[in-house]
């Protein structure tokens, strides 16, 4: 599926390490299986032997740059998919990363598979191979199964918002365009439900939450020094879901805190061990902000002012805002 190969990236990394542009590289290391690559830091040409790249390298590594860019040393090389570049811009806007310390190489992306989405469809995966848009999965008990890639891609890739890199120091391959995605379709579907149906839907989803905090900890917008939910002084602290209220509180407040800052990278839903479609909360805010206050894409431009910290004198009244769709 991916048009760039491991070798192209490794050669680029070696070149930049050799000429001193960077002194370390964020990339991926091979795992036990086809799908379990791990983001990792490579500090020398020799270490790059373990560098892998493929259709499961979907993790948004921007968040690691928050800590990494503040460390001493030279620049860090990162390979960013189009959606990752939005996160990097947003983090730059919020002064959370030192952009000067980062050497971003934009890489094209054909959509990234994820282990969890794959294993929703197939059990006991031994190996995965992609040829063009076909994915061949070898299994323990059901032989080799073939899927069109679109069947296995997670929502964030099926409804990819942009193949354009909004920031990079160097680009591999051609840059793409901002896409007209159907990413709000699912939100609209929910909006069209009756309140009772919506409540039942979310109750069902959110009640599975185990408050492992994976969504928060992977989120490139959640970079607070200390999250309010971890801080006893905040009045919001709670450690593990105690009842249905706490889950709602956590997810509403988290979505509110990232509103206007969330780039819709979809990492929250990717990592949720309970497959809660958390991106639908963030997308609701994005959609509302677009309709109420005009189109806004977090991370599109460094220094942009998110709608929640902005206003116009003619803004919609809250009473009108909830009337939409009636």
């Amino acid at each position: 599926m991916q048009k760039v190969t491991r070798d192209i990236l490794v050669n680029k990394a070696k070149e930049l390490l050799a000429n001193g542009t960077v002194d370390r590289v964020y990339g991926w290391k091979k795992g036990e299986f086809a799908y379990d690559v791990t983001p990792a830091l490579f500090k020398s040409e020799k270490e790059l032997d373990e560098f892998v790249f493929g259709d499961f390298c979907g993790a948004n590594v921007s968040k690691y740059l928050v800590a990494e860019s503040k460390k001493a040393g030279g620049k860090i090389l990162v390979f960013l998919k189009p959606c990752d570049t939005y996160s990097l811009n947003q983090l730059t806007t919020e002064h959370r990363v030192d952009r000067e310390k980062i050497y971003a190489v934009g890489i094209p992306c054909e959509g990234m598979l994820t282990g969890s989405a794959l294993k929703d469809k197939v059990d006991s995966v031994l190996s995965v191979e992609t040829e063009g848009d076909t994915v061949k999965v070898e299994t323990l008990y059901d032989g080799v199964k073939t899927f069109p890639a679109s069947d296995l891609l997670p929502d964030r890739c099926r409804n990819c918002k942009s193949k354009k890199h909004v920031t990079y120091d160097e680009l591999i391959g051609e840059d793409g365009e901002v896409l007209d995605s159907g990413r709000f379709d699912e939100v609209e579907k929910l909006e069209k439900m009756t309140p009772d149906e919506r409540f039942a839907f979310w109750q069902g989803e959110l009640s599975r939450c185990i408050r492992c905090n994976a969504c928060r900890d992977v989120c490139p917008a959640c970079t607070c020094e200390k999250c309010v939910f971890d801080n006893p002084k905040s009045g919001l602290e709670n450690k593990a879901a105690a009842d249905s209220f706490e889950e709602k509180m956590f997810h509403i407040i988290r979505a509110f805190h990232v509103a206007g800052r969330c780039t819709d990278c979809g990492e929250c839903s990717r990592v949720c061990p309970q497959h809660i479609p958390l991106h639908l909360l963030n997308r609701k805010f994005i959609k509302d902000m677009n309709t109420f206050y005009g189109e806004y894409q977090a991370g599109e431009v460094v220094g942009n002012r998110p709608p929640v910290v902005n206003y116009t004198k003619e803004d919609i009244e809250p009473s009108e805002a909830v009337k939409r769709g009636e």
């Binding site: 002064h95 309010v228 801080n231």
Partner: protein, 664 residues
């Protein structure tokens, strides 16, 4: 844990009539932290306050809850009481059981129940209160006045009179402003120069006042009491300290054909010039756009004739930074441009003029030496038409005019009409008006005199069209009272142009973080109660920069602004509002969201070194609140995702505690 005393007020029967005060004080006695609870007829009375003071001493109270009327009534009273008994005034909370309970609920049972809940919320809050001390910042005892018109002059004089140094920054080569261009003033008809120029001289001679003429403010930093202002002194190529204002240079300069701004281009000046005879400072200025010496190095006549040796062709713009405690904006107004009003033929005929041009035509020091002559041919005009409301009171969306009433036009038009008829009884004067607005002392009498004694023709209606034909101006207008359309062959048409704030005001407002309305007038802190202060602490408003004004109003406002400034500068220290935002630096992520929403620019960011929990040191970007500037709205606390920003006196945990107490 606090030791809290609860004091329930009967307010006569105001509270006790609907609330069982005994039950309230009994119930609240059981709340956590409460060590004393009582009720009394009038807590705000001396006797009531004594109960509080005694209880503080006897029970070693650390927190006070008064269940009484609205805190807007007596919070200050009880805070003083607490302070006089030795506890921090901010350890007092009021439960409003009168306006928001006994007065709106009829039933004693529900009233009492609610009073207890409100009391509980106040107790829950006090439990988490911390003593607050208002911040103190020193005050730089010097004021800056931006604008040297009558508003700025009066403000500066009044401030200087109180003994404080004042600097005036004026962008033109002389102070005096619009008033210096006026001929006579309504309704007394005294000559503007006669009353203004002595004030200008006072300014020049006052030891406390420095004039930065031909200068502009380019940067403003700091906050109330502590502004740092950068002033650009534009190069005038004449040394101010040496020039004697003799005028020899202005006579000899070979560049003669430069339109004279002071007379609104109706005559000419030289490339080196003194705007008018009474200019302050009376020094020459070289106009670099027209000076041959500056443009191509060929001339130098002025330098040769200057016996004082004041000419300096190599002068450069100078920048100086000064400290001020207060800033007064007095940037004034201008008539709006008339080029969009084709119907009045302003750009087609020289004989269609604005009222300000008319002032110069009538002025003894004006282009015609005070004789009313037509600009086109220098003939004496016989028929004059005055048009009121040109560009004023236009629809909001109309691009050419202003929506507001310019306020001064009715009176000066009456003045012009009257003066014309007085000096030249052979003239016919027509004034077209929509309404004649004369609310002011002796104003309507003045207008009536113009009609009754001087025979000015006031016609209710508007001029639709002015067309130059030969040496006449064909004026077509409606006369609504007579229900006819009239045609007048006029010799001179005078347009009462709307006035608008000076163009320098908008960038200045940005520098000062002072707010403006859609018309670029500065907004006051409160339209009724704080009309001369801007919402930005330490920035005051004087004159027409705040809205259209005539001279007496301007002077009155100038004096009011001065008294506000004096009040500020009298203080050695400024006591702030202690309920200000406060960041927990260890929690701050440095994202700038709080900075973005702060209406006062009170938040800045610094890079600071911290010792982290993992025993390393780290440089982090964190928010800093300038407590002297913060007004305590709390907007930043919600914009802050990490909860690092909190508001003293209304802390998150306090509000949570109140919510919990109410919902218990």
């Amino acid at each position: 844990m606090q030791r809290i005393g609860v004091f329930v007020c009967h307010c006569g029967t105001n509270i006790a009539g609907t609330v069982n005060v005994e039950a309230v004080s009994d119930a609240l006695r059981k709340e956590p932290g409460v060590v004393f609870s009582t009720n009394y007829q009038y807590m705000c009375s001396q006797a009531g306050q004594d109960i509080i003071k005694n209880a503080i001493a006897e029970y070693k109270l650390t927190g006070i809850v008064v269940c009484s009327c609205s805190p807007r009534m007596h919070e200050a009273t009880f805070r003083k009481t607490a302070a006089s008994a030795g506890i921090n005034p901010y350890m007092v909370e009021i439960a409003n059981i009168r306006e928001q309970c006994s007065w709106v609920h009829k039933d004693t049972l529900t009233g009492t129940e609610k009073a207890i809940i409100l009391g509980r919320a106040a107790i829950a809050k006090v439990n988490l209160n911390a003593p607050l001390t208002p911040g103190q910042t020193p005050v730089t005892k010097r004021a800056l006045v931006i604008g040297g018109g009558i508003a700025g002059i009066q403000t500066a004089l009044d401030i200087a009179d109180a003994g404080f140094p004042v600097d005036i920054v004026e962008k033109k080569p002389t102070i005096g402003g619009k008033m210096a261009q006026l001929d006579k003033t309504f309704p007394t008809l005294d000559c503007a120069a006669c009353i203004l120029t002595p004030k200008m001289v006072d300014v020049a001679q006052n030891e406390k006042i420095r004039i930065f003429s031909y200068s502009e403010v380019t940067e403003v930093h700091g906050f109330v009491g502590n502004f740092d202002v950068t002033i650009k002194k534009k190069a005038r190529y004449v040394r101010e300290d040496i020039c004697t204002g003799c005028g020899a240079c202005t006579e000899k300069c070979p560049q003669k054909k430069i339109p004279n701004e002071f007379n609104l281009g109706m005559d000419t000046r030289r490339a080196i010039y003194i705007p008018f005879a009474q200019a302050v400072p009376k020094v020459a200025t070289i106009d670099p756009d027209h000076c041959n010496m500056l443009k191509n190095g060929k001339c130098g006549v002025c330098s040769k004739v200057c016996t004082a040796g004041a000419i300096d062709y190599n002068a450069k713009d100078e920048f100086l930074t000064e400290k001020y405690g207060a800033i007064v904006v007095a940037t004034g107004f201008n008539p709006i441009p008339m080029d969009k009003f084709d119907e009045f033929a302003y750009s087609q005929s020289k004989d269609v003029i604005t009222s300000l041009e008319f002032e110069r035509l009538m002025n003894a020091a004006g282009p015609t030496g005070g004789k009313l002559l037509r600009p086109s041919d220098g003939e004496h005009p016989h028929t004059l038409v005055f048009v009121q409301c040109v560009g004023s009171r236009c629809e909001a969306c109309a691009e050419k005019g202003k929506e507001y009433c310019s306020k001064i036009c009715c009176m000066y038009t009456a003045k012009h009409a009257m003066l014309t008829r007085d000096k030249y009884p052979d003239t016919e004067v027509y004034v077209f008006y929509i309404d004649v607005r004369t609310p002011g002392k002796n104003f309507d009498e003045f207008y009536r005199r113009a009609v009754e004694e001087y025979g000015v023709h006031y016609i209710k209606g508007m001029v639709g069209k002015v067309s130059p034909e030969g040496n006449k101006l064909k004026v077509q207008a409606s006369d609504l009272i007579e229900n006819r359309q009239i045609h007048i062959d006029a010799d001179l048409v005078v347009l009462a142009a709307a006035i608008e704030p000076d163009k320098s005001a908008r960038p200045l407002a940005t520098m000062l973080t002072a707010s403006m309305d859609t018309n670029d007038f500065f907004t006051e802190a409160h339209p009724k109660l704080r009309p001369v202060e801007s919402p930005t602490a330490g920035v005051f408003l004087s004159g027409a920069c705040q809205g259209p004004k005539d001279i007496p109003e301007t002077v009155a406002q100038a004096g009011a602004a001065a008294s506000k400034v004096i009040g500020l500068l009298c203080k050695d220290q400024l006591t702030g509002n202690p309920c200000v935002a406060h960041p927990d630096e260890m929690m701050c992520s440095g994202c700038s969201n709080c900075e973005k929403v702060c209406p006062y620019g009170a938040i800045t960011y610094v890079d600071k070194e911290f010792r982290m929990p993992d025993r390393t040191t780290k440089v982090r970007r964190v928010a800093q609140v300038n407590e002297a500037v913060c007004q305590g709205c709390g907007c930043c606390t919600v914009a802050c995702m990490s909860g690092a920003m909190d508001l003293k006196g209304f802390k998150n945990e306090q509000i949570f505690a109140e919510v919990d107490a109410i919902c218990r």
